[in-house]
Symmetry: C2
Amino acid sequence: MSYPHSVKNLIAEFSKLPGIGPRTAARFAFNLLRRSENDLKLLGNAILDLKKKTRICKNCFNISENELCEFCSNPKRDRGVICIVEEAMNIPAIENTKQFNGLYHILGGVIRPNEGIGPNDLNIKGLLQRIKNGKINEIIIATNPNTEGETTALYLVKILKPLNLKITRLARGLATGSDLEYADEMTISSALAGRREYR
Amino acid sequence: MSYPHSVKNLIAEFSKLPGIGPRTAARFAFNLLRRSENDLKLLGNAILDLKKKTRICKNCFNISENELCEFCSNPKRDRGVICIVEEAMNIPAIENTKQFNGLYHILGGVIRPNEGIGPNDLNIKGLLQRIKNGKINEIIIATNPNTEGETTALYLVKILKPLNLKITRLARGLATGSDLEYADEMTISSALAGRREYR
């Protein structure tokens, strides 16, 4: 079975998206085949235009339409606290809590020795520069709670510790609404180690 | 949190793909932000070009680069057997078995009363025309084994029966490699009803 070239080509391109195999890619392609020419233009042009109006915030490496992103350019945000995240797309999760009013720093990934990604591939120089230039009271490390995220967090702690800063890490423990019965050992261990006293 | 306009726009467009919510759409967008301008062009243009070189086979409604699709134009295929499928993307599953050498007919969907999709919205007229024009020995109904697929199959049987054709349906039963313990009642009922005698 050979699909027409333009269909095969689109399936190959869709398959490059994260988590998309050839079957889902084919489903996307056939969905688009049923849609109007105008619909295809909307999606196609959205992709072609993606990078034209966006750039990287020169302070925190967030994506932005201006030299400084919406957080770095906002005078109401607390410049003394920096929350370090792996990717810009981690920011909404933190913003949605409405509990954080500092600035961010986007690492642009995590240390992955297997894939040859080391500290020099992350936006760490810029972070050190920010710490040097500004009065930072606290650095919150919010990398993901998995092996790579932890490795990266430990590396960051190692290089930031000598700078005499308050360095914190998002708490590990039971997720709200989860079930003790189904929680994994690591999570319960973290919940035990981080237990808090009722006062 | 407001992403730059071009990012938000792309997330909205990706969210229109089947099974894609705003989070996965955002993951796609951020994946593309990390890729090269050239990569974006490949995907964007593949979408814009999708319909330019494809059309619908005038015989079976498959997607095609020519007036007739690769099956309808292939002299080695048996013109006396038509396998009716819901969508062109169901064809590879049947072709991969290498057990079918007839032609196809693509319905272009199934009857969905809730969504106002009736028989007139499917490519049924063209099917009746094909049956009228050619010597058809057998019609194999290969709609999906779910409620809509079954409803559509029953409708097809009703209108095809008076034409004195052999009409068959793909067998229902236990999937190869599946486990009796986990099979649902309907599947086991079908397997019982369709049981075959050892000879």
